[in-house]
């Protein structure tokens, strides 16, 4: 009898304190999902820390962005949204918007205008690729190479097309284990004009042509599935050159002093930004909006570039980009958008890939297993 009572009492106590904790959690904490590593670190310093100081709200970092889309869908289906704000690549943001998993946003209403009064939607301009998407940075997928493995008297590689040149640059290559960017590079370096790439890639012959070009280096290529892997391959000297994200290369070169050089030609621009999960309760939504207003203004976006070499998505932030916070080096030359780096570039064609991703992916995977 006594035992039962004790049990009941302690159960009640646990439940009560659990609920109290849950309430407390709601009031002062916000879960923000991002990519982890150097990127989360730059967000922590540029947005989270100043915001926490200003508002007293605690921000919890969740490094789940690589599985962000799947988890957002799972949370929506379970009816239990635990995330407040999610950092996603543009293509994924379009997906969650299509699926109704993210909230549509009136950019001018929610976000701060530029200091000169330009409205947010004009300041971000074309970067707003979906109604749910609040752009933060422009990054690029480009190439890094081992400076110590370039033979003497040979000009170091300049860009994507040198990957296919096994004669001048022998050695292993690293490429992403998915079709995006690889297919475009194959065609561009096979002589297809930039403006025709996606038209050619739409046809069966065009796809065969891209695969044939990739075939020439297939047995010399290690396919990576995470950006960290690509950096590790380069740092260990496992590959001579590899595609990866420019910010990761920057941190390997400048922060860790690896003997790696950048090959910018035909880098692929891509966007990264925030989405707000759909159907957040009102109090949490209000808090997220308050955070977003602060964290996406002109100064904050420019601040992020002090910690990582990704270009701010606002036009008005670009002139404010200064030097690296710890190394003190000028960041502008390391930005993908710097004119000398951006001689030949292309932009990830999100709408095209939305249509062709399933089809090309199964062909690409079949090609890999052959």
């Amino acid at each position: 009898m006594k035992l039962t009572k004790t049990l009941l009492a302690s159960t009640a106590l646990t439940v009560a304190s659990g609920m109290a904790f849950a309430d407390g959690h709601m009031a002062s904490e916000m879960t923000i999902v991002s990519w982890g590593g150097a990127y989360s670190n730059s967000q922590q310093k540029a947005y989270h820390d100043p915001y926490m100081e200003k508002s007293g709200i605690t921000i919890i970092n969740d490094e789940s962005s690589p599985e962000g889309v799947a988890k957002m869908r799972a949370q929506a289906e379970a009816g239990n949204i635990t995330w407040d704000l999610v950092d996603l690549e543009a293509a994924d943001a379009i997906r969650v918007c299509d699926e109704g998993l993210a909230m549509e946003i009136d950019h001018d209403e929610v976000l701060a205008a530029a200091p000169d009064g330009t409205s947010a939607s004009d300041d971000f301009g074309d970067m707003i690729v979906s109604d749910c998407f609040i752009p933060q940075i422009v990054f690029s997928t480009t190439f890094g190479y081992r400076t110590d493995q370039v033979a003497e008297g040979v000009e170091p590689p300049k860009g994507a097309c040198d990957v296919f040149d096994l004669e001048t640059y022998p050695g292993k290559r690293g490429l992403n284990k998915q079709p995006i960017a690889n297919m475009e590079w194959a065609l561009l370096c096979d002589g297809v004009a930039y403006e025709d790439v996606y038209d050619v890639l739409e046809t069966e012959e065009g796809q065969d042509r891209a695969f044939a070009k990739l075939d020439t280096i297939k047995d010399q290529t290690i396919f990576w599935s995470s950006a960290a892997e690509a950096i590790q391959l380069l740092a260990d000297g496992e590959v001579f050159m590899s595609s990866t994200y420019n910010g990761r290369l920057f941190s390997a070169i400048e922060e860790q002093g690896q003997p790696i050089g950048m090959a910018w030609d035909w880098q692929m621009f891509d966007l990264d930004g925030w989405v707000v999960p759909a159907d957040l309760p009102e109090d949490r939504l209000a808090r997220v909006m308050d955070y977003l207003y602060f964290a996406t203004d002109t100064q904050r976006l420019a601040d992020q570039a002090k910690f990582i070499s990704y270009g701010p998505a606002r036009a008005s932030s670009a002139p404010l980009v200064s030097t690296h916070a710890e190394l003190g080096i000028d960041m502008a030359p390391h930005m993908p958008t710097e004119p000398s780096n951006a001689e030949n570039t292309f932009v990830n064609n999100y709408t095209w890939w939305a249509d062709y991703r399933d089809d090309l992916d199964s062909k690409f995977q079949a090609w890999l297993t052959q």
Partner: protein, 546 residues
């Protein structure tokens, strides 16, 4: 009456009930009590394990999204003959207009687009584009009605026309505060008889505004779709003489004018949005995937696809899954085999060494077991890569030339080495616990009877250790077949498993139906192999110890 007087009757318990019943009752109570004891665990497993798996597997056949999003179109399309070479009739396009209009208001059309895009490339943007431009089609009628009479411009007059008096009164009284619920729209009875399509469409509109958008119906102008429905009703010239409610004069006026209205040619309008709407293949795909349940995902999981003429193989350059299933099975077998080869001697040592040394050895076996999987996998990367420890040593020893270092990782070899290492404890531990129970005297007895070392081992010791091999093999094989992270990290392109594709479809492509189908096949394979093992070896022969 008593036991003594009727020896042939049933035995009675003390309270007069037959002993059998009484015993049964006691037994049942005992069973219930036992069930109550395990109930928490049972419920826990059902809720957190069985139910989610069943739910996930169910997605492999689920396909309601097509008929839910395009209910009118799929119904109309059922009569269309896909082999005729003709695009569907104009009614189908009209149904499609209604369906897509409602779907884009609810933001469901892009979702359906991505679903159908799994089957036919290009449908995703077709739906996205159509969703953006479908409103223009309805505005043709909306503009003409509004030009005719300002009556049609206003949310209030529409509500007066369509809503019942009771609802109108309640709505006027409602103050628009969010904590008082908005009075639910109620249709005026007379109007449904006169304007059936308009009434039905307006009800959908009202329901959407009030319940999904949470807006005040009195302030929302009707969708362009409502005007199209009104036009369709009026052009059929309904008998308006019996209707005397609000707007009756305007209705008569509109009916007279409607015959002179500019009309919308739906097939042509859709062709203008995208010529793909006149592509037979698009319609065949919608028709093929109209039913609520589909075998499409399962067919896809075995490299086939649904076509109007039944299932057929996919083109050569898209076939991957059967290859991956076969590869997963073969490599799991190889890994199991190498675990037996490496684990057996270790387990034998463990079982036969003096306790102190055996304990030390045991710790060496368990230590990697306790180390994080990722750490061990990454360690193998450092060891096996071309500039890694193994290759460096071989080059230093002069066994391998510097320019032809061995490729030990990012291929099948890498997966087999790393996974054998990771799964080895699962082989050693059951083997050890079985070997521990084999009395050493048996071996001594065999030898004293003249057996050589080999015969004593092979004829006496080995047969007794087989149950351990069985248990270890089942464990290792089943774990290996579903392994994901190690093949992903060290497998390169040739050493990845089917589970890597499942993970890709769950987290990147969001094609959960296909992932569920692949998972269901994998589960069936494991259960099938387990069954086969039971038939051939007998599951009673498996021992985890004792």
């Amino acid at each position: 009456m008593t036991r003594a007087s009727d020896p042939t009757g049933p035995m009675m318990a003390a309270d007069g009930t037959p002993l059998k019943t009484s015993l049964n009752r006691a037994l049942r109570r005992q069973k219930l009590r036992a069930l109550a004891l395990i109930a928490p665990l049972l419920i826990f497993i059902l809720v957190t394990f069985i139910a989610p798996i069943a739910d996930m597997l169910f997605r492999s056949v689920e396909n309601q999204i097509v008929s839910d999003t395009l209910p009118r179109t799929t119904e109309q399309l059922a009569e269309w003959d896909g082999d005729s070479g003709e695009i569907p009739a104009p009614e189908v396009f009209k149904a499609l207009y209604t369906d897509i209009f409602i779907a884009q208001e609810r933001k469901l059309h892009t979702r359906l687009g991505s679903r159908l895009n799994y089957e036919l490339t290009g449908v995703s943007s077709l739906f996205r584009k159509s969703g953006r431009r479908v409103e223009d089609m309805g505005e043709v009628y909306q503009d003409q009605f509004e030009d005719l009479n300002d009556f049609w411009k206003d949310a209030e007059t529409w509500n007066a026309l369509m809503g019942s008096d009771a609802w109108l009164a309640a709505q006027t009284k409602w103050d628009g505060k969010s904590d008082v619920p908005q009075p639910q729209f109620e249709l005026r009875e007379e109007i449904a008889g006169v304007l059936p399509q308009t009434a039905a469409t307006f009800e959908i509109f009202a329901d959407f505004v009030q319940n999904e958008d949470d807006d005040n119906l009195a302030k929302e102008d009707p969708w362009a779709l409502v005007y199209s429905a009104l036009y369709d009703d009026l052009i059929a010239e309904p008998d308006l003489s019996g209707y005397a409610g609000p707007g009756s004069a305007e209705l008569l006026e509109a009916m007279a004018a409607a015959s002179t209205f500019e009309t919308v040619d739906y097939p042509a309008a859709f062709e203008k949005i995208d010529k793909d709407w006149h592509d037979i293949e698009v319609w065949q795909t919608i028709q093929t995937y109209s039913p609520d349940f589909t075998s499409g995902y399962f067919l896809n999981a075995v490299d086939m696809k649904k076509s109007p003429d039944g299932a057929e193989m996919r083109p050569e350059n898209e076939q991957i899954y059967i290859k991956l299933f076969v590869r997963t099975l073969i490599m799991s077998l190889v890994i199991t085999g190498s675990c037996i080869l490496l684990g057996y001697p270790v387990a034998w040592l463990l079982a036969n060494l003096p306790a102190r040394t055996a304990n030390l050895l045991m710790i060496l076996v368990l230590l990697p077991f306790w180390t994080s999987l990722l750490v061990r996998t990454s360690a193998w990367k450092v060891m096996l890569q071309q500039q890694g420890v193994v290759n460096d040593t071989l080059v230093w020893l002069g066994l391998v030339a510097d320019d032809s270092r061995l490729a030990l990782i990012n291929n099948q070899t890498g997966t087999i080495i790393a996974m054998t290492h990771i799964l080895l404890p699962f082989m050693i531990l059951p083997l050890y616990s079985v070997m521990k129970t084999i009395p050493p005297s048996y071996l001594r007895a065999a030898k004293s009877l003249g057996a050589t070392n080999w015969t004593a081992f092979w004829r006496v010791y080995f047969p007794q250790s087989v149950p351990g091999i069985g248990a270890g093999s089942i464990l290792v094989f089943i774990l290996a077949i579903g392994y994901y992270i190690t093949p992903e990290l060290v497998g390169g392109t040739t050493g990845t498993f089917i589970s890597n594709r499942i993970a890709y479809h769950i987290s990147s492509s969001l094609n959960w139906g296909l992932a569920a189908a692949l998972g269901a096949i994998l589960l069936a394979l494991v259960l099938g192999l387990y069954w086969a093992y039971d038939k051939i070896v007998g599951i009673d022969n498996v021992k985890l110890g004792g």
